[in-house]
């Protein structure tokens, strides 16, 4: 490009950048003065310019695999003309859905058209699925109504090859025309009169079904057919009754995902209770009908206007106009009432919808009367009931529109008012039970105490002793999106026999500070679960969440109603776990599991406790047990248990699927979203995690200032390698946490900034940040965090030359890990301390640390860590001259690496083994090792390591007295080594070339190569390289007859090598000096030296050197 042109482009680009974005194009058009090429050049640059903020660092290296949730489309199961089950002639393939394929067919027996739905073969072969399907069809067949598509039959078609590939199919009424979805897509919103005609038919069809005991479960425009009746009217028919989702009762949806890999369709038309996993009722269909009506009139689903927060369902006044409804009477009232979040408050019957639309009077349902009462009650209590009771529609950008959020509760640990600390466990037990019990019913979201991105425990604990003041409440509300805080206390009341526990609880509304519900009950400690259940039921009732469906409570009871002694162990174990005492937690929880082996909650807590101690093997075992025990429990519990199991293994692909499913089913649950992001980040998918958090912020505007979200973003940035962004997000998290008084979370955020600073090379800043967070952790007794902060501090300290201080930090961290039983932390700290001490020259102490690291890794079953440390140990042992130990360690490392399938680690370790074998003089074994390593490197295409292996091979050939072959191998490696600027390797290669030339008697070449080797050694500045090159040089000098220089340099070499810390090289240097002495007229000194060397090398097992020394003595 011509420089002037380039300058012109740059100038124009710079000036355009200074313009506001909206003015840029007009600005450029006028400035380019008709130069189209210039214009397009600058425009394309402006488009490409990264935005000033939010640019993620880019990662080089392997990225995460994309996960595929969808299966590829399949070929039609039947070709046109096929006769299915001897009765239905296929006319054409219509389409494919989640469950199978749809065909247009002719019933040859009756001579009428039929729709044939062939199920996916995998579903067809599941007996329990087939059984349920038949039940559903039997039910559906009971409905006979002109607005309901008739289901005819279930049939089987023999597959092509064998009986196992039988295809199950359904036949139903064939409907000509288009679906309502197609009509809306094609023609846009409908006129009120067109819509009225259709809605009245839909209501009639639904009513007929509901009367027959059939719930549709998936009413949506795509399931409504519009059949042209005569010129002007259409006949509306609801299809897929009780079958689309009816195939899958709530508890089966997980199975379906597992089997087919499909996530259920968009929750756009589902009722809040379905989204929460509660079985659908006729009221659920009415909710969906409300959404369909809205879409018919507006062309879209309801949207948020002004994005108001979620609100309390009971306070929405009957018939109140939804802000986004503009359809006038009677529509607005009908739609609003269909869309009541509380099913009890919707139209009681589908036909009521039709009546209301026609302007007929609708009888008041019992629930309606109740609401009037509750509304009045609320006004009496707070006088605020009607304020802010507008709307909670959320606009889910880029996705379907979701219903308003269920209110969020935060459960505080109730205050122990017994005056006796031995009853402390009741508090934990009760708060756990309340959270589980209330979350169970789906009407509320529970903000739990622990989430991956950080703990809000300190928010909850900070105010246990008093009712949160209005300021606290406001912060809890804005930062965590909490609507109600449940708090309370318990005390003992005397009773005959054992004392009873009296529990009083209240629910405080965070935006008004008013107590919205209150309850106090007493029961024996043995009946704690029943006591909590009763209290929760009452709280729910007062808060308007309805009472529980009894069979769900039964499921809960089985999982949570533990015998009192077990409940106590569980509660105390959880307390220990939360205060980072992993040892005690595992003891208590193991005991609890022994006594109640079928509770998934106990196994899960124990799994977490083992995990906290870094014992992955045991953690996986318990996580598996938790999952197994949860199979009879509802979906959310099962999925959560499965997710934990997958993450511990780790099976990231499946874990992400499960976490996504949880988010799909519970889109308003912050914790599910945070956990999904954490899982994505842990699996290495930083951008994925970031995207999940972006979506969380869109769906849940209430979490804009949630410090946990910022922490999760920081984690995602870290995984993506963007430490600047990580530090920035962690900084926001710290501020947000400080705002709500969550000191611990703020300190964690500060520590994360420290680690980011360290990774950014800003050691001074990193140290400062570590030092700021330490006292907070110390004060709170969060020992694990103290140890983590100390380990992080050691890095910048060591790197800025304060090794002694770094060592002290590591040692203190180790002492803490010993106290808390965190073996993973300890293992890592031992290994790193070993490296630090090795750098400091304290080899003995370094070895001890490595040995401790190996023990710790073994104990927790971390095989990779064990192998890495064994490799470190072997290298040190080899340099110290303990060949047997070195061999034992490296063989163990190779064994492990092979077992866990880590090829590169195995190959790298094999090179270390070959080094040991070379020194031991076992050339045959060394040759085998090198061949093995070469094979692995070739497979992995690791040329750098391959060249390193070739050097060993050349060394072997040289020792095996084949100098020509040694030379040819060394020269084949040398260019690659030079290209990679691996001067250490280049030096070795050139030394070998010099020595092999010497062995062939080519003194000139030997001289040149040895000079080159020294040059390469100079570039490395490594003592070991310098010594290796010098050995070659001294030998060459001696051979050239430069006796004086050879002797002087040989002696200096011997002295230097003795200090280099590598016993093998030191022996080689002695050998060299001895030989040179013999050659240069100091025969007696040389012989004496050589025989001493022989003895020493033999004693150490350095047989290669010993043999060479013996040969020299003889020769």
């Amino acid at each position: 490009m011509i420089p002037e042109r380039w300058q012109k482009i740059k100038d124009l680009f710079d000036r355009a950048c200074e313009q506001p974005e909206s003015d840029r194009v007009p600005f450029l058009e006028s400035e380019a003065r008709g130069d189209e090429e210039l214009l397009s050049e600058v425009l394309s640059l402006l488009e490409a310019a990264p935005r000033e903020t939010g640019a993620l660092g880019c990662m080089i290296g392997p990225g995460p695999e994309p996960h595929h949730l969808m299966e590829p489309r399949e070929e039609p199961l039947f070709a046109p003309g096929t006769l299915v089950a001897g009765r239905y002639g296929i006319r054409r393939f219509v389409g494919q859905g989640g469950m199978g394929q749809v065909f247009e067919a002719t019933d040859m027996e009756l001579g009428i058209p039929a729709a044939l739905k062939a199920l996916h073969p995998r579903l067809s072969t599941d007996p329990s699925f087939v059984e349920r399907l038949k039940r559903e069809v039997q039910l559906a067949r009971r409905v006979s109504h002109p607005n309901v598509c008739r289901t005819y039959d279930v049939g089987r078609h023999p597959g092509s090859s064998d009986s196992r590939s039988e295809i199950l199919f359904l036949t139903m009424e064939f409907l000509p025309g288009e679906t309502l979805a197609e009509r809306l897509h094609r023609g846009g919103p409908m006129s009120p009169s067109d819509a009225m005609a259709i809605v009245i038919q839909l209501a009639a069809g639904l009513q007929a079904a509901h009367s027959a005991g059939v719930v549709h479960r998936d009413l949506k425009p795509a399931n409504v057919f519009l059949v042209p009746a005569d010129g002007t009217t259409v006949h509306a028919v609801i299809t897929d009754f009780g079958t689309a989702h009816g195939f899958s009762g709530v508890e089966d949806e997980r199975d379906r995902i597992t089997r087919t890999g499909h996530i259920l369709g968009t929750p756009a038309y589902m009722s809040p209770e379905q989204l929460a996993g509660v079985p659908a009722t006729p009221a659920s269909d009415i909710y969906s009908l409300g959404l369909v009506i809205h879409e018919m009139l507006a062309g879209v689903l309801p949207k948020a206007e002004g994005l108001m927060r979620q609100h309390w369902p009971l306070r929405s006044v009957p018939g109140q106009r939804l802000a986004s409804l503009r359809f006038g009477r009677p529509w607005d009232r009908v739609i609003a009432r269909c869309l009541e979040p509380d099913p009890a408050l919707r139209w009681a019957r589908a036909e009521d919808v039709a009546r209301a639309l026609r302007g007929q009077r609708v009888p008041l349902s019992p629930a309606m009367r109740r609401r009037v009462w509750v509304t009045r009650g609320s006004v009496a209590v707070g006088g605020l009931a009607l304020i802010g009771a507008a709307l909670g529609w959320l606009h889910w950008l880029g996705g379907p529109i979701s219903p308003r959020l269920p209110p969020a509760l935060m459960v505080q640990r109730p205050l122990n008012a017994t005056g006796d600390r031995s009853w402390e466990w009741i508090g934990t037990s009760v708060s756990e039970m309340i959270a589980t019990e209330i979350a169970w019913h789906g009407r509320f979201r529970v903000i739990p105490i622990d989430v991956p991105a950080g703990s809000v425990a300190d928010v909850a604990q900070g105010s246990t002793v008093r009712l949160p003041d209005p300021g606290d409440l406001g912060r809890i509300r804005t930062s965590l999106g909490v609507d109600f805080v449940i708090s309370g206390s318990y005390r003992l009341i005397p009773a005959s026999g054992s004392p009873k526990v009296r529990l009083s609880l209240r629910a405080l509304e965070t935006d008004s500070g008013v107590v919205r519900a209150e309850v106090a009950e007493a029961a024996a400690a043995t009946d704690l679960y029943d006591l909590v259940t009763r209290c929760c039921m009452e709280l729910r009732r007062q808060l308007g969440g309805g009472t529980a469906a009894p069979h769900l409570s039964e499921g809960m009871r089985a999982a949570l109603a533990l015998p009192p002694d077990v409940a106590r162990l569980y509660a105390e174990g959880l307390d220990r776990l939360r205060s980072f005492d992993g040892v005690r937690a595992t003891e208590l929880l193991s005991e609890a599991v022994r006594d109640a082996p079928r509770s998934p909650y106990l196994h899960a807590a124990l799994a977490d406790a083992w995990r906290a101690r870094g014992d992955d093997a045991r953690a996986i075992e318990e996580a598996r047990a938790a999952f197994d025990c949860s199979l009879a429990l509802p979906r959310e519990v099962k999925l959560a248990m499965e997710a934990r199991y997958c993450e511990y293994q780790p099976d990231w692909k499946r874990a992400i699927e499960v976490r996504r499913a949880l988010v799909t089913f519970h889109p308003y649950d912050t914790e599910h979203r945070l956990r999904l992001a954490a899982t994505l980040a842990n699996s290495g998918d930083g951008p994925g995690a970031m995207a999940a958090l972006e979506e969380a912020r869109r769906v849940l505007p209430s979490i804009q200032n949630d410090p946990r979200v910022s922490m999760a973003r920081a984690q995602a940035a870290e995984v993506a390698g963007d430490y600047q962004l990580e530090r920035k997000e962690a900084g926001s998290a710290e501020e947000q946490a400080a705002m709500i008084g969550a000191r611990m979370l703020a300190a964690h955020a500060r520590l994360r900034q420290a680690f980011a600073s360290y990774k950014l090379g800003e050691n001074a800043r990193a140290l400062e940040e570590c030092r700021a967070s330490l006292p907070v952790f110390r004060e709170a007794g969060n020992l694990d965090a103290v140890a983590r902060a100390l380990s992080i501090m050691a890095g910048p300290l060591a790197e800025s030359g304060h090794r002694a201080e770094a060592r002290l930090c590591m040692e203190e961290a180790l002492a803490i890990y010993a106290q808390t039983g965190n073996r993973r932390g300890a293992a890592r700290a031992h290994n790193n301390l070993g490296n630090l001490l090795d750098d400091m020259g304290e080899r003995q102490e370094s070895l001890r640390q490595y040995a401790d690291a190996v023990d710790a890794y073994r104990e927790i079953g971390d095989r990779r860590g064990e192998a890495v440390t064994l490799g470190n140990l072997a290298i040190t042992a080899r340099m110290q001259g303990r060949l047997a130990d070195a061999r034992r360690d490296i063989e163990a490392a190779i064994g492990i690496a092979t077992q866990i399938g880590n090829q590169s680690l195995a190959a790298e370790s094999t090179i270390t083994l070959a080094d040991i074998e070379i020194w031991a003089g076992d050339l045959a074994a060394a040759r085998r090792s090198i061949e093995e390593a070469l094979g692995r490197f070739a497979q992995l295409n690791l040329t750098f390591e391959r060249d390193e292996a070739l050097l060993r091979e050349a060394q072997i050939e040289l020792m095996g007295a084949d100098p020509a072959r040694a030379a040819s191998i060394a020269s084949s490696a040398v260019s690659g080594l030079e290209g990679a600027e691996n001067w250490e390797g280049v030096c070795t290669a050139r030394s070998i070339l010099a020595l092999s030339a010497l062995a062939r008697g080519d003194l000139q070449a030997a001289h040149t190569w040895s000079k080159d080797a020294l040059e390469a050694a100079g570039r490395t500045e490594l003592d070991t390289s310098r010594i290796a090159a010098e050995i070659a040089a001294v030998r060459v000098l001696a051979a050239r007859g430069e006796a004086g220089v050879a002797l002087t340099r040989g002696r200096a070499l011997e002295a230097g090598a003795a200090r280099c810390g590598d016993v093998g090289l030191a022996l080689e240097a002695i050998l060299c000096l001895g030989e040179v002495e013999t050659l240069c007229g100091e025969g007696s000194a040389g012989r004496k030296r050589l025989s001493a060397l022989t003895a020493r090398a033999r004693a150490l097992g350095f047989m290669g050197v010993a043999r060479k020394a013996e040969r020299a003595l003889k020769g």
Partner: protein
């Protein structure tokens, strides 16, 4: 174990500073070995974090250089200027080596904070960045130098401005343009 001859490095830096471009070619092998060794040490060391930032390594190499002597601010800038060139070489070598190992084989990735976000691809291919930079060198050598210093050496705008003896606002402008240009070239390749 040997250490880079610090006095030598300083002397070479001074020479380079005086405009003797041959000093750089002498400097490279000295610092290269240090950087390479640091990279390999990192892999052996069990950091809780699994990735290595390129500028991280440069900073560590600098620390070794700076710890035992008082270093003037300009020395620091010169060191980073040289280290950026060297780091680029190491990373390109590393990337070539890595190219064939699609799924890592237990290797740690060295990350590069280019500040670039290429639409449609999550990660930037270092070799592509390198190639684009070579192209840019052909058109606008100074701009390419700024990119190299920022991306591979982690130099601040202030440091670059002192080193190249141009104003900070010029550095910022050039960097802004270079980012756009590189993004466009890289997304064209993508």
């Amino acid at each position: 174990m040997g250490q880079t001859d610090l006095v030598g490095v300083t002397r070479l830096l001074e020479k380079w500073n005086r405009g003797e471009s041959s000093a750089l070619s002498e400097l490279i092998p000295t610092v290269y070995e240090d950087l390479r060794r640091l990279a390999r040490q990192q892999i052996r060391r069990e950091l809780p974090d699994q990735r290595i930032q390129a500028t991280d390594l440069v900073h560590q190499a600098y620390l070794k250089f700076a710890v035992q002597r008082s270093v003037s601010w300009r020395d620091r800038a010169h060191f980073f200027g040289a280290a950026a060139i060297i780091m680029r070489r190491i990373l390109v070598d590393e990337a070539r080596r890595r190219l064939a190992i699609k799924h890592g084989g237990g290797m740690q990735a060295v990350t590069l904070d280019t500040g670039l976000l290429i639409p449609g691809r999550g990660e930037v291919d270092l070799l592509a960045v390198n190639q684009a930079l070579i192209d840019l060198e052909g058109i606008d050598a100074r701009q390419a130098q700024i990119v190299e210093m920022r991306v591979f050496g982690g130099l601040s705008v202030e440091e670059i401005s002192s080193l190249l003896e141009i104003s900070e606002s010029t550095v910022k402008r050039e960097w802004r343009f270079a980012k756009a240009w590189l993004s466009r070239e890289l997304s064209r390749q993508a």
